[in-house]
């Protein structure tokens, strides 16, 4: 017996491995969050960081449904939005101080959002989780359209186009945070981001979390080990709705306003893109995706008006060439570097990077020249003091040569990889 006990613990990762793989990343994540305010960031940075935190929780909650549960949803923003709206109302109730709301700290609003999202998930999930696959996807699309339309009909809850707004500087202060200044809000967002990440990570380690993966892989078999796959999906859906609502609650405090846009197909599509670009097969994938896409959404438009085009290209490139997303690229790189021949791997990797950069350069020149030409304001693309008009031969040389060179180099890198 003692020998068996020995063996079964052998099967599981060692305590050291557990610490390295599980606890350490979270500690590092928390440490980074803790260190950020030390460098005295700007408002822009804070605002962006807050949005990233919210989107990290939102994208992770989406991945509970898509990556872990295998359910493609086009309406996940519904739970984000409904949770957020409830939190927004709660914010106003706290301001009024009526009933028990007078004694609720503003800091805990994301919990209200969680409840709202979970209840919405419970109600909407009831009919929709009976099905999986495309049926589920289409139901989610229809439900999202209906809820969005309803948002403009029921002003008392949704506040019409202008939405519901409130003031977060009310109620009891927790941890000495008034939540007024932006750097105080930072601690709020950081706290709840960490809570959300840990919560959802812990969820993957629970029996229900594992069963959700089992149901994704093989719903039929799940029935024969004693579980009802519909019920598994339903429970996971409620939990995912709850975490989406948590993100909604964070957003409520951060922006102090919620509008029906938050429920529409646009954020639902965006969260799908975030999760997928990040990598849905990895727990951390959506975190990467949320950070990158939030940045692109808010900052790329400063540099180019064609940012949506670049977003589309990025997305398609990921779907086509890196279906495991950014996380797949990162972990693939780490594996490669740790592999038998790191030098050669690194060489190929750098070569491929060079190829991609060259192609990107061709693309950027093409897009930027064309956009300006098409606008017809007589503006000209002038990177590094070059004057790249559409009638300038150099522009087209700069499009075609790098593009061809890039394609050639990447192809070579792939060939070498195959040979290796």
């Amino acid at each position: 017996m003692s020998e068996t006990t020995q063996s079964f613990t052998d099967l599981a990762p060692s305590a050291g491995a557990k610490f390295r793989q599980r606890t350490l990343p979270i500690l590092i994540f928390a440490a980074i969050l803790f260190a950020i305010p030390m460098v005295g960031p700007s408002r822009t940075f804070y605002t962006l960081a807050h949005q990233m935190g919210i989107n990290i929780v939102f994208a992770l909650s989406y991945n509970m449904v898509l990556g872990r549960g295998g359910l493609l949803s086009f309406g996940h923003a519904v739970y984000f939005g409904l949770g957020g709206y409830l939190a927004m109302h709660a914010m106003n109730w706290i301001e009024d101080g009526a009933g028990i709301w007078g004694s609720v700290p503003m800091f805990l609003l994301p919990l209200v959002g969680f409840a709202g999202g979970a209840v919405a998930g419970a109600v909407i999930g009831w009919p929709s989780c009976r099905k999986a696959g495309t049926t589920f996807a289409m139901i989610s699309l229809g439900v999202a359209e209906l809820i969005f339309a309803a948002a403009f009909m029921f002003d008392s809850f949704f506040g019409g186009e202008q939405g519901i707004s409130g003031d977060r500087m009310n109620g009891i202060e927790l941890f000495g945070l008034s939540l007024g200044p932006i750097d105080e809000v930072y601690w709020f967002i950081a706290f709840w981001t960490v809570i959300g990440v840990i919560g959802m990570w812990a969820f993957t380690r629970t029996p229900l979390g594992k069963l959700s993966e089992a149901t994704r892989d093989n719903a039929q078999r799940v029935q024969f080990i004693g579980y009802n796959p519909q019920r598994v999906r339903y429970l996971v859906f409620i939990a995912a709705g709850g975490f989406a609502g948590l993100a909604g609650g964070m957003a409520a405090v951060n922006y102090e306003i919620f509008t029906p846009d938050a429920l529409s197909l646009v954020p639902s599509g965006f969260v799908l893109i975030m999760a997928y670009v990040g990598g849905i097969t990895f727990f951390v994938g959506p975190i990467f995706g949320a950070i990158l896409l939030t940045y692109m959404q808010s900052m790329l438009s400063d540099f180019t008006e064609a940012w949506l085009l670049y977003l589309g290209v990025l997305f398609i490139a990921i779907v086509m060439f890196a279906p495991r997303g950014i996380a797949g690229i990162v972990f693939g790189f780490l594996d490669g570097v740790r592999g038998d021949n790191p030098g050669a791997y690194l060489g190929r990797w750098l070569m491929r990077l060079l190829g991609i950069l060259l192609m990107l350069m061709g693309l950027i020149v093409l897009v930027e020249v064309s956009v300006r030409w098409s606008n017809g304001y007589g503006e000209v693309y002038e990177p590094f003091g070059l004057h790249l008009g559409h009638e300038n031969v150099l522009s087209w040389v700069l499009v075609i040569v790098p593009a061809i060179a890039g394609v050639w180099i990447t192809k070579r890198a792939s060939k070498e990889e195959e040979a290796a």
Binding site: S42, T47, F152, G160, Y255, Q297, W307
Partner: protein
């Protein structure tokens, strides 16, 4: 030093063109001011921030703008965005004394912004919905041949407000006019407006009023033209980009709009030169946002009166300020920071000096289409809190 204006409006995506048309206007207006020595010797810089007409994204861009040193925010597309920005500006100014910013709203027309939601930090340079409706009803009231009116609009706060304003004002100005239909349809969801047009035709209405914008407006007008309807459609946003082109000849005599000025009004040579310069610089767009020049001119005048470019003195100087612009006098009402000015009702015509959308059709003033400032003026319920 430069005076930084943050232009927070859509610059990409489906609403990109609306933002772009205004953005280009601001840039040209700022260039002209800068060429003439700037404001109190400082140059104006217009910085564009793409908010994708999303309230939350607007707040992100707002923070960015403040980081970039902007003290003046301009925005116009979408009342939800304007509402979010008003709130955000109020809170920012309360939480960051000494760093105040002003919000110049050039196109978000929800009446509440200068009524119950009014704020010292917000100035509106466009007539609000009730004022535009007052202009429309004023014009209808003069037309004895109009005996029945049909109202159609989008089913949300703004559409509902337009409908109730129309009902209220018409019953006051012309109690004999019958409202033969009051239709609200979901926002941005209708693909084919033919059934609505059928309803309008069978109701026998003599005129239609709509606050529709965007695709809802264009598709409505297309369906109306297609069914051979000949009653006037009085719109708030008929002048928006592409609407005239998409209707073509069918729009003549059908599509009406209310605005603070059109290019085909009598004007000075300078104004004509400006219109032509704009068209040459930005061939995709037309000189439409006349009010942008009002914003910039009033700002310049106020800042120079105040002798500083700081927001609070400028705001105080703006209150009650009047300027003469190309198409009349504009006054910033001190009580609620709502501009007051004459309005014009115009209709699509093929006999015009300046066409729009790069075709020969353009806007022409209709008979008795000039609505005086007094006729358009509306009372306010604003109780404004002013800083010391």
């Amino acid at each position: 030093d430069t005076i930084k204006f943050a232009f927070i409006d859509p610059l990409s995506g489906p609403f990109g063109p609306s933002g772009e048309a205004a953005y280009t206007s601001y840039q040209l207006a700022a260039e002209h001011i800068n060429e003439n020595g700037g404001v109190n010797g400082d140059m104006i810089e217009i910085m564009g921030y793409d908010n994708k007409v999303n309230p939350k994204e607007s707040l992100v861009q707002f923070q960015k703008a403040i980081d970039d040193g902007a003290r003046y925010i301009v925005q116009g597309n979408g009342s939800s965005v304007a509402a979010a920005l008003i709130e955000a500006v109020n809170k920012h100014n309360k939480r960051n004394p000494g760093d105040e910013v002003l919000f110049f709203n050039y196109a978000a027309v929800t009446p509440a912004f200068t009524n119950e939601l009014c704020s010292f930090w917000h100035f509106r340079f466009d007539a609000h919905a009730d004022m535009k409706m007052a202009a429309i009803t004023d014009w209808i009231a003069e037309r004895d041949d109009i005996k029945s009116v049909y109202l159609i609009g989008q089913d949300y706060v703004f559409g509902q407000a337009v409908a109730s304003a129309a009902e209220g004002q018409l019953s006051e100005k012309r109690p004999d006019i019958e409202i033969v239909g009051n239709e609200l349809h979901p926002l941005g969801k209708v693909k084919d407006f033919t059934p609505y047009i059928q309803k309008i035709i069978s109701s026998g209405a003599d005129a239609v009023i709509t606050g529709n914008w965007g695709a809802d407006m264009q598709l409505l007008m297309k369906a109306a033209a297609e069914s051979g309807s000949e009653v006037p459609y009085l719109t708030f946003y008929g002048g928006s980009k592409g609407a005239v082109a998409s209707l073509g000849e069918d729009g003549i005599g059908l599509l009406h709009q209310v605005s603070e000025g059109i290019t085909n009004l009598e004007a000075s040579d300078e104004q004509y030169a400006l219109i032509e310069e704009y068209k040459e610089r930005f061939p995709d767009y037309d000189y439409y946002y006349h009010r942008v020049w009002n914003v910039m001119d009033m700002f310049k005048k106020a800042a120079e009166e105040a002798g500083t470019n700081d927001p609070i003195p400028v705001a105080k100087a703006l209150e009650g300020l009047s300027i003469e612009h190309a198409y009349g006098t504009a006054t910033m009402r001190a009580e609620d920071h709502q501009i007051q000015q004459p309005l014009y009702i115009s209709v699509v015509s093929d006999d015009v000096k300046y066409g729009v959308d790069n075709i020969d059709l353009g806007w022409e003033l209709v008979d008795a289409g000039t609505i005086s400032m007094d006729a358009a003026e509306q009372p306010t319920t604003c109780e404004m809190e002013r800083p010391e």
